[in-house]
Point group: C2
Chain length 412, copies 2
Amino acid sequence: MESCMDRIKRDIENIAIITATPQKGSTRFSYSDEDRRAREYLFKEMEKLNLEIKVDGAGNIRAKYAHGNESLPSVILGSHIDTVANGGKFDGVTGVISALELIRVIKEKKVQLKRPLELIVFAEEEGSNFGITMLGSKILTGKFSLKDLKNIKTYDGITGYDVMSNFGLDVDSIGRDVLKRNDVAAMIELHVEQGGILDLEDTPIGIVKSIAGMRTYKISLKGVSNHAGTTPMYLRKDPMAGASEIISYLEEAAKEHALPTTVGTVGKILCKPNMPNVISGEVNFYVDIRDVDPQGIEKVADALLNKTNEVAKKRGLTSSVELIGESDSVKLSSKIIEAIESSAIEENYKYKIMNSGAVHDSAMLTNFTDVGMIFVPSIGGLSHCPEERTNYEDIKLGCDLLIHAVIKLANE
Amino acid sequence: MESCMDRIKRDIENIAIITATPQKGSTRFSYSDEDRRAREYLFKEMEKLNLEIKVDGAGNIRAKYAHGNESLPSVILGSHIDTVANGGKFDGVTGVISALELIRVIKEKKVQLKRPLELIVFAEEEGSNFGITMLGSKILTGKFSLKDLKNIKTYDGITGYDVMSNFGLDVDSIGRDVLKRNDVAAMIELHVEQGGILDLEDTPIGIVKSIAGMRTYKISLKGVSNHAGTTPMYLRKDPMAGASEIISYLEEAAKEHALPTTVGTVGKILCKPNMPNVISGEVNFYVDIRDVDPQGIEKVADALLNKTNEVAKKRGLTSSVELIGESDSVKLSSKIIEAIESSAIEENYKYKIMNSGAVHDSAMLTNFTDVGMIFVPSIGGLSHCPEERTNYEDIKLGCDLLIHAVIKLANE
């Protein structure tokens, strides 16, 4: 008979092969063909457990294990199955599969629970389509409206509304169909750490106390496109030179003028017309700033906006700065932290109470209910890349703790 | 009856509408469907003049006006019809159409010439497919071999050999079919200036004395792709931050550590995976350095290579620098400069003897024969962009001078 670990491994590996970039990591954007195939896999597994499955207008999968207690608020479990481009196979999927395994174990062992469980597979967590992270959980919790959805676009210019409609979703139900505070008793998400602390300290379990807040800005610089050979240096209005100056300054600001916990990244840049022998006319780039302390974000964002104005003025460029995503840093529930910690102590698992540098869907539910997170180690701290790895032994330990904590919370 | 200017305008406008980017400038890459349609237009015009048309293995069109003197070396006229992405309608096309009009006028007026004329439409001048400029003229003059062609690739990974074969060319004839020194008596190219000097000085004609040399480098920086939220600043190996530092330095080096004539540009950058919330793993960018004085190029190139090594070492990145294109600065023929200048004086046209910051196909023929170039003004100095403009009155003046100079050279 398969062990829990065998089943977890089988599920994660089966989903990993559903990728648009075989041999080059997991590329499984929400609303893509790969997403559809991964969903079909999950639906089959959920049907084996007789879960009641519902898919909302944004593509969030809500699968309920009700066992006759439908009327009580649920304990929510969940994470996501979408990825960045050329990402890893553990980010998100590990939490979804651990939650699925939890329900299998509860059913097999006929564990009695007072409250229903609900496994939610959040759509579009990574922001790969529209540059907006946690879109599914934002929509589910009413933080992002149907109207907003009509105003966002993919890099190819297709609206959020159309992308979701084309995927066959009942997009117009968004807004009517949001999560209600009274339906939720608690939420726990298991996730890979995506940083190197647990691996470095040889600790299999992280219990998250705060999740970093983030802001994503899109900065656009427009200058004058011209021939690279015939325009003297002093006559140029070159947005690429301006972008370089700002990107270099962002690194300095995050390193030296903020807090030790602050990070700032430019991971995406688009240059037009993007030809070696043409001075570019327009450069757009995205700035991601994060910190568990809002002051760190504030400092770097202020410095960035000032620098952008200064650079544009000095170089005769037109600049625009658009805040395209924002989430506040949040403290997780001390009640859930204690529930997980006491289980870890009972089971004698080594653990660390820590912050999360990454934002997660769970953070969207903190104003609805008590929220907790369990981390398992990312080997070498690598994530969002094909080399992302977590030992299945560690996932098994994380899943054990999840089971213990959920049994407590669902019987309160 | 149509005037010369009417015919020139009609031809240029008819070719301008053959673009992959309607309303957004001319995008007509060599070996594309747009290229094929523009060629068909030219073939029809050439057939009306009974030119002997031959297309070589690289796609260079060679159209001869022989009038019974096939055995003597030809005076070559020509330029190109390919463009950068979202470029202008005058770059290249103006020279091709002026040469075509020249042959029309010579035939109509039954001007007697001792030597044959040859109109060459050079393929792939802009380097839009492979990042290598003047590929057609390099191949025609034996500077780029069949073997080299098998080693270059489009950004989509298709070899030069395959791109040309797929276009229906007899690529294997390359090398056997190069230009021979004894076949050529002289070459003149008319081209738009692509800089702002003639327009600023209200002068309709430039007579080129030197063409800038250039080098194009591809710089690749590899680091460690990771999650933008969970990796502290001090643990990053971020190639985008490294690229920004090098791009900023390139500008400083070209402005302050070289010559007043030196220019350096980064017009193309590619970031992988190019996601806002992922520290990039690899950034590739292209550096274009030009000067009429080889010392200027040397200084900036040396500084760039040193800086790249320093940045890679300091940041724990892997760097590679590849020289993907190079042409020496060249002095044009004083005999042809004098022929054009004396015609300008006879016609009482205002002119300026000047340098070319841009490299042109003509530069590839300077070790074969006497080469000259006529410039006409670019309004506002704009080129390689949809706003590129030249007054048709100025093109007409340039074409007049071309006719006068060619009549002299073809009767020597």
